[in-house]
Symmetry: C4
Subunit: 212 residues, 4 copies
Amino acid sequence: MSLASTFESLAVELAEIARLCYARGWALGTSGNFSAVVQRQPLRLAITSSGLDKGLLEAGHIVEIDEHGRVMQGEGKPSAEATLHLAIVRSRGAGAVLHTHSIWSTILSDAVTDATGGLPIEGYEMSKGLDGVRTHERREWLPVVENTQDWTAAAPRIETKLREHPEVHGFLIRRHGLYTWGTDLAAAKRQLEILEFLFEAMGRKRGIQWQA
Amino acid sequence: MSLASTFESLAVELAEIARLCYARGWALGTSGNFSAVVQRQPLRLAITSSGLDKGLLEAGHIVEIDEHGRVMQGEGKPSAEATLHLAIVRSRGAGAVLHTHSIWSTILSDAVTDATGGLPIEGYEMSKGLDGVRTHERREWLPVVENTQDWTAAAPRIETKLREHPEVHGFLIRRHGLYTWGTDLAAAKRQLEILEFLFEAMGRKRGIQWQA
Amino acid sequence: MSLASTFESLAVELAEIARLCYARGWALGTSGNFSAVVQRQPLRLAITSSGLDKGLLEAGHIVEIDEHGRVMQGEGKPSAEATLHLAIVRSRGAGAVLHTHSIWSTILSDAVTDATGGLPIEGYEMSKGLDGVRTHERREWLPVVENTQDWTAAAPRIETKLREHPEVHGFLIRRHGLYTWGTDLAAAKRQLEILEFLFEAMGRKRGIQWQA
Amino acid sequence: MSLASTFESLAVELAEIARLCYARGWALGTSGNFSAVVQRQPLRLAITSSGLDKGLLEAGHIVEIDEHGRVMQGEGKPSAEATLHLAIVRSRGAGAVLHTHSIWSTILSDAVTDATGGLPIEGYEMSKGLDGVRTHERREWLPVVENTQDWTAAAPRIETKLREHPEVHGFLIRRHGLYTWGTDLAAAKRQLEILEFLFEAMGRKRGIQWQA
C-alpha cells in the first residue's frame, strides 16, 4: 500500500475510533486524542487535530505529523500532547496510541494509588487481554504521572519512565485520563477496553459495602 | 442568511440537541429547555416550547420569542424559565443557552456545596474545555441558586449574580439541574458535556471508599 | 375510530413502549407488563402477554381482556398481574398502566421507606412532571406493598389503598418494581420516566459521601 | 433441518448474542464465549473462536467442536474454556451455554459470598424468570469457583459440583464472570439477563447508605 493510501485508511480508522470513544463517554467535549504510525523511517504519525468534537470527527480531521510534530499532510493543528504520542511510539515501538478521558480513569488516577505512585491491578482474569499477559495472577501496575500544561518539557521524563518500565501497558495522568497503545489500532483498542473495564470494576468495587 | 431561515435552521439544531439530551437522560419527562439567539437588535430567541417530550421534539416545536418572552413565530408556549434564558443572553452575550436536568447535577446541586453556597471544581484537566480556560489549575465555581416557581421574580436576581461573576460558566438550581451557555450551540453543547462529565466524576468519586 | 382499530393501534404503541423499557433495562428477561384501555363500558384492556422477551415484543403479542381478565381478542395469556392493571384502571380512571422492574425501583422498594411503609419524595423539581403537580415543594409519597404470588387475593387490598390515597402517582412492590399510570400511554410514559429519574437520583445520592 | 443448516443458523444466532453482550459491556476486549448444541449423539457444539473482538463477531467466527473439543467444522481455535461448555452440556443437558464477563459479576464473585463460598440471592421477584422458579421466596445460590488457567484440570471438578447441585442456574468464576445456560439460546439469554440484573441490583444496593 502506498504511504498516501496508508495515511488515508488510518485516518478513516482513527475517526471511527474517536467517534466510538465519544459514544462511550471516554472523549467528551474536545478531550482525547488518537494516533497511528504511517511509517517509521522517517517517522510519520496520523493523529487527530486538536479542539474538535470527537463525536463529529471525520477522516478529514486527521493530520500527518513528523517526528518533531510538524504537520506534513492535512489541515489542522495537532494537540500539544502529540509529543506524548511520539514519545510512546519511540519508546515502545507502538503502532497506535490512544488517549481517553473517562470518568473512572479520572477518578482512579486521583485517588487509588499505592506507595510508588502507581495504580496496582491484580488478580483479574480480564488482564489476560493485555498484550503478552498469560495469567490472571500477573500483577499489573500503571504509573500515574502529574498533569501539566507543558508537555514539551514533560514528554522526555515520561519517555524515560516508559523505557525503565517495559512491562507497563499504559499510564494515567492525574485527573486527566489514560494513555495506552498497541502494535496496531485493533490491538490498542482491545487494550483500551480492558483497562477501562478494570478501572470501572475497581472503582465500583470500592463503592460497595462488604457487610452483607 | 435571512432571519426566517436563521430561525428555521436554529429550530432544527435545537430539536436535535433536545433529542440528544433526552437520549442521555438529561431531559427526561418534559424537563429541560434550550434556546439560541436569532438576532440581537431587537432581541429574538428561538426556544423550545414547554411541556413536550424532548425525545420526540421536532423543529416545529420551537418558537421565536422577543425580549419580553412574547411568541413572535411558531406554535406553542415557552416555558416560564424563558425569562432565565433572556437574562443569560443579556448578561453574558451568549448565543445559545442549554438547561438540562441530569441525575448528577440534581444530586450535586443539593449536597456538595461550599461555604459560599456554590459548587467548587478544581484540578480537573477536563475543565480546560470550558470557554477561556487554559489550565487545569484554574478553580471553577458554579453558583447554586434556590429553586422557585416564580422565575419572573427570580430572573433579575440571577441576572445580577451573573454580572457580578463574569467568570462562571454555568449555574445550578437546587434539585433542578444546570444552566450553561456558549457563543453558539456547538460551544454551549461542548460546555454542557464538560460540566456533566465533571459532575459525574465528582459525584462518583464521593461514592468510592479510599481505603484500598 | 372503531374498537378494532383502537385495539390494533394501542397494540402497536404498547409493543413500542415495551421495547423501549427493555432497552433501558426496565423490563429485562420477561419482566414488566403494560396495558391501555380500549373501551370503558364494558371495560376492555389491551395488555402484554405473559412470559415474552420484551425486547422482541410485537403488536401481535398484545391481547385484549375483559374486566374479569378473560382474553377477548388475540393469542396469548395475560400475566397474573393483569388483575392489578384492572384494579388501577377501575380505582384511578387510568387510560394506561405501566409496570416496570428497574434496578433502582427494586432497590428503593426494599430499603428506603419511612415509618408508614412508603417512599417519600420531596423537593425535586422533576416531580412537577407528575400528573397535577404544580410545585417542587409538594411532598410525594409512594406506597410500598409486599410482593406475593397471589395477585387475585392481593388486588382488592391494593385497589382499596389506591382509593384511600387518591394523591399517589404510583406504587412499588417490594423487590419487584413500579406500577404507574396516566390518562393515556404518553402521560403514563412521562410519569414513568419521572419516577425512574427520581428513584435513580435518590438511590445514587445515598451512595455518595457528604464530606468533601 | 439438516445438521449443516443447524450449525449455520446457530452460528448466526451465536454471533448475534456475542455482539449484544459486547454492546452491553459483558464481553469487552476478547472476553466471553458462547455455545449451542448442534446435536447430542455424538455431541457437536457450535462455539465462538478464541481471541476475537466480540463486537465484530460474525457467523464465520463460530466453529463446531466434538466432545473432545476438536474442531470439526469452520476456521478458528476454540477457547481453552470450551471444556467448561462441554462439562455444562453433559451435566445439565443444556442446549446453550453463555459465559459473560461483566463488571458486576466480576465484583460480586470476588466479594459477596457466604460461608459456603457461594453467592446467595433471595427474595427478588426477578428470580422467577430463572428456569423452573415459581416464587420470589425461593433462595437462589450460585457457586463461586476459583479462577485458573488450567481448565482441562478444573472442568471435571466443576462438572461434579454441577451434578451435586442440580438446582443451580449458573456459577461464577472468581474475578472472571458468569456461566449460565438454558434449553436453547433464547432461554439461556433470558437467564443471563436475569442474573446480570440481580448482580447489579445486589451490587448497587450495597453501595447505598441506609440512613435517610
